[in-house]
Every structure is written in C-alpha cells, then in structure tokens.
Symmetry: C2
Subunit: 366 residues, 2 copies
C-alpha cells in the first residue's frame, strides 16, 4: 500500500517491531506522517477497486427491488438528433404509460388534457384537495433528459404530488426535440406560469420537477427573475440536471453505481446535447447551478446516496444557502436517480412527496 517515500520510515520501524504495542505505535506514526505516501500513482487521484454492491437491507422491499435492478439497458445509446430521439422516446413512453392508470386509481387522482396559451398541459387533480390547498396550484415540469417522457409518460411525478400532497397540479407537456429545441421547454413553462399568474397569486404557487424537470424549475426561477415576474412561493427540485457540463464529483463516484443514469456519458447526456442544439452548455438556463440564485423562494431539493446527480443536487443546495435562500435538502438511503417516482406503493416515495408537500404548506400563501 505504501511506496518508496515511506521506505525509510518502514525500515526504521522494522527495527522495533518486537511487541504488538510498539508495532502499533509505529504504524500510527507512519499513519500520521504518511500524507506524503502514494496510494495512487498520480497526485490527487484515487484507485478504487472493482466491487459488488448488494441492494441495501435498510429500505422497503419495493425500494430494494428498484435499487437492486440491473443497469438500465441501453444506457449508453447516443442518439444525435431530435429525429433519432423520437422513436426512443415514443417506445419508452408506450411502456411507461401502462403504469399510469394503476397510479391514478391507487392515489385517487384524475387527469385531463388542456392547452394553456398554446402550450399543451395536463390538469392533475386529487379526489380530495386539502382545505388549506384550495387556493394553491403547482406547476410540474417532467423529467426525461429534455427528450423523453412525452404525453402521459411525463405524469407519474405529477400524480404522486397531487395524490400524496392533496393539491392541484398543472403538468406542462413542454415541447421537446424534434418538435423544438432550447429554450422551448423553458419557454413553455414560463408561458404557463404567466397565464396562471392572471388568476392565482405567485405566493400561492410552486414549481416542482425531477431530473430535467428539476433543472427546468430552477431555470424558470432564473428566467422569472430576468423577466421581472414575481417569484413563486416555493420550488422543489428533485435530483436536478443542474450542470450539464459534467462537473460534479458523483459523476465519478456514482458512475456504474446509479442504475438509472449509469454514466455521465450515457443517454441522458446525449439528450441534453440534442436539446441544447449547439447552445453553450454552461448557460445557467441549461446548467442552473451557475445562475445567480439571490431572491429565490424557499427551495427543497431531493436526492439519494447512489444518485449520479447527488453532487449536482447538493451543489444547488449550497448555492442557494450562499445566496441566503431558505433551502432544505433531503437525501434518501440507497436511492439512485429519481428512484422515488417509480413505485407509489414504496413508503419512501410517499415520504419524499409528503416532505415536499409539508415544505410547500409552510411557504405558500393560502
């Protein structure tokens, strides 16, 4: 484990290795003197051996199954155009949509299609709206790397929020490639917000979303500031794609550990590149961690210990706190990217959304 620079110390210590106690003392001296020793060949790098991970034992059976699932198949596809993405998105949506009716039934939520100032959206309403939420509305931006989850496939998170939070949700079916490119998704979110501001005070509204949706709600905060619109009463960003330039330490540490995104060079990166359409990836409207978050409303962030975007979640948390914003962070045991919107019967999913609902309740006007 130790290399040549400690050879002298080793040699010196070898002369006194007579008793356990002396040997341990010597080891300790080596230990604390040992910052010059080289564990890895080049400075600042660390060689991590291959490992076999078990699904954690300290989560619900439902979550254990999700965490223990194999890597997402075809995580390393790299469609290069909106046209190449479309069949991928359509096939994924066709599979995912099958789970929606069960969710609606279990969570007692109904969905209707609408159009708001030309933008496609869904009105997602729980059977019972909590009395305190009667004058509140949430705007949902779905995830999917800016290219996936068209139509009803974008609804699960909106259904979870409406059902667990007993609150009305408008889920924006924003335009995606090949229909439109950056900043179309953001523009559609802002169009819906502006329309809703005509009837609902900003302080009674919140934005929420996960992954690309988590980035979009932060981008909408930045854009609202730029446009001089009032801020919503709160924001909830789940495992946001807050930095599409691949900066973030868990892009390394959780690579091949997160069974959803798997790698910083996987399908999701390919989706963001197509959406950006040549635009600077470091623009805060694509990588909101680089935005100025002064004046943001209270914001709650959600991630998991196996999340490839854990760094990009906690970096936004720090950025908000540094800007003096009230910001809460929740990180869930074992969860990889967006695992909390998979199974509405997992108690951890309920916990995530009840935490967000409680946060909204503390910060939204009635």
């Amino acid at each position: 484990m130790k290399k040549s620079r400690l050879a002298l110390a080793h040699a010196l210590c070898s002369t006194v290795l007579g008793s356990t106690v002396l040997a341990l003392g010597c080891l300790a001296l080596l230990s604390f003197a040992g910052t010059a020793s080289a564990q890895t060949p080049s400075s600042g790098t660390l060689e991590v051996p291959a490992k076999t991970l078990s699904a954690p034992s300290d989560v619900s059976p439902q979550l254990q199954k999700i965490i223990g699932a194999p890597l997402r198949s075809n995580w390393d596809i790299h469609p290069k155009t909106g046209e190449e993405w479309k069949p991928v998105a359509d096939a994924g949506a066709a599979a995912l949509i099958k789970s929606v009716p069960g969710m609606l039934e279990r969570l007692k939520v109904k969905v209707e299609k609408t159009t708001i100032d030309g933008v496609r959206a869904f009105i997602v309403t729980p059977e019972t709206i909590a009395p305190k939420n009667r004058n509140r509305e949430l705007i949902h931006m779905h995830g999917g790397c800016y290219v996936l989850n068209p139509g009803e496939a974008g609804l699960p998170e909106a259904i979870f929020m409406a059902g667990f939070g007993h609150i009305k949700v408008i889920s924006v079916e924003y335009r995606m490639p090949p229909e439109a490119y950056f900043p179309a998704a953001l523009d559609d979110g802002i169009t819906v917000y502006k329309a809703m501001l005509k009837t609902t005070p900003a302080e009674n509204m919140a934005f929420f979303g996960t992954s690309a949706g988590g980035a979009l709600v932060l981008e909408m905060g930045l854009k609202a500031k730029e446009l001089g619109l009032p801020m919503p009463g709160a924001i909830a960003a789940g495992t946001p794609m807050s930095d599409v330039t691949k900066v973030g330490d868990t892009f390394q540490t959780n690579a091949m550990v997160d069974n959803v995104l798997v790698s910083p060079d996987g399908f999701c990166d390919a989706g963001a590149i197509v959406y950006a359409n040549g635009h600077d990836m470091k623009d805060p409207l694509l990588s909101p961690v680089y935005g100025d978050m002064h004046g943001f409303p209270p914001t709650i962030l959600t991630s998991g210990t196996r999340d490839l975007l854990l760094s990009n979640t906690v970096r936004v948390h720090r950025k908000l706190r540094q800007a003096g914003v009230e910001a809460a962070l929740q990180v869930y045991e074992g969860m990889a990217h967006a695992h909390y919107i998979r199974d509405d019967t997992a108690p951890e999913s309920r916990e995530v959304f009840e935490e967000i609902a409680g946060f909204f309740d503390r910060h939204l006007d009635k």
Copy 2:
C-alpha cells in the same frame, strides 16, 4: 450486457435493424422491457468496475488537496484492546496537536483546561463572543472512533466552532479505552451537561460533535430523555457513527472512495468494538439511529458526497423527520468523512460551521 431472457426480443429487433431510427426504437423497446435482463449474475447485486477518481475541480484548492490525499495509511489496522489502541492514539495525537496553535491564532480562540464534576474538559473561548451568544454555551464531544484524539487532539472542531461561531464551547475530554469503556464517554458528556444545567438553561445550550462525537451527541439526547433531563436547544451531529453494526449503503458505495475511514472493516470499526467492550452494538446508545428520536430538539446534520457515513447521516435525518423533529441536512461536494475539520482556511470549513452557528442562533434562547 443482456442475457438469454431478452434473446427473443433481440432476435425480433435484429430483423428490423435497417435504419438508425428503427434501430433506436428497437433499443428503446429493449430498454423499457428490459427490467428482467440480468446485468449481474445474482439478483439485486451490481458489479461496479474499478475506477480512477480525480479530486473534484469544483471545490476550493484547500479542500481539493484534502480530497485528493491518498487513503489514510494503516486504515486497516485492528487493535484489539484499549492497551493496543493507546500508543496509536498517542502517536496520532502528537502529530495532530502540532496544528492546534496555528488554528488558535488564526481563529482568535483561547483554550483552558478544567475539570467539571470530575470530568476533564477544555473551555474554548473566542476573542469576541457575539452579543447574541453571551448567555449561550455549547458542549462539544470530539471524534476519533471512541479511542483516538485524546487531550488537545480533540480540540480542532471546538476551535472551529468557537472561532467561526463566536460562541463559548466546553469540549469534553471524555474517558476512552484503556482508561474506561462504554458507556464512559456518554456518561462524561451527561455529567458535564448536568453540571452546566445548574447555571445555564437547557434552551441556551446545544450539543455538537463529529464522527464518534456526532454519535455521542445523539446518544446524549437519547440519554437525557431517559433520565428526564431537559433537552438542549439544538444538536449538531456531523457525519455521526450512528450505526456501528455496518448497516448503511454508503459503507459499500463509498468504500475505498472515502480516504479517511476507507472501509467499514477498518480502524474505526476496530475502535468502536473496543469501546463497546462486548456490549450489544445495536443498542441505541452505541448505534443511535435505532433510538426513538421523538422529542429531540432541532438538529442539523453534516456530511459529504464521498463520506463512508453519508448513509448513516441521512438515515438519522430521515429518522428525525419521521419523528416530527425539525432537522436540517447539509452535504458537501466531494468531502469524505469529517474533511471539514481539517483546514480552517478552507472556505468550505467556514461554511459548515457558519451554517451550524446560524442554525443554533435560530433555535437557542438568548
């Protein structure tokens, strides 16, 4: 990547692989149908290949150096008795204590030794106590796996807190093996708390500590409840050894990634075993994550993305929230176990302690 169960789908798809678009559509179908495919030989496990980690680029140079340091030498020693630990602890302390005078000078803090109802302690006082903190006192429990950092070697965190927080700290030099074993450290903390309650209201006090100290402050909360003592106004637990039974997913995912603790089977586990001295490791007074946290005061938790105890930090956060306790979580980019008490010139260290100081300020009486 895919095994026999998907062979049919593969074969079907192979027949239509004429154009890129069709191929991608087919890949997507495989992808979303593919949860039955086996990435790894046994169900629920994930094979993670070896990797080389670079120190993250998005932290301060000081923190980058700490994260980029090689694995702690001799992380895999396993002293079996208090007597075997003593020379290890003494050698480590001798090295660490050299950094203390510089910290005291830079942070404008002074230290005096004392004894409180028979327990050794240090009074750690900043040159300037903030006016709002004049009637407030903090109890510090140092880290070191219940066996390391005797005497002044336990002081850095107390100095950081006093200096960055402008508040008076009593740092408990609790008994450690071979002088005494479980529950001696906890008892010493409680003795000091009881003594301080004679002159200072509980609501004006907080407990804080990191690693074993993070566990001890949670254990003190549980013990205070058991004894019918009033709760302190707040608690700050940094990367707590909240579960010494090795449950926690980041024991796997951050093994060999955290350059301080390195492994769940390393020196720190050996230290906890010696302190426990045969006592049940799952007792909440050794593994506080299993304790009943109803009635706890507001608690702030600190960890980092490379922390071996990230899971054991976030699990305590969830446990507190489930018990209805106001609890804040801060997770820092790239940090391994307790990296924030290494270098007082790192801006991230200041940030950690200013966050804790702010949390205390919001929750302690004046």
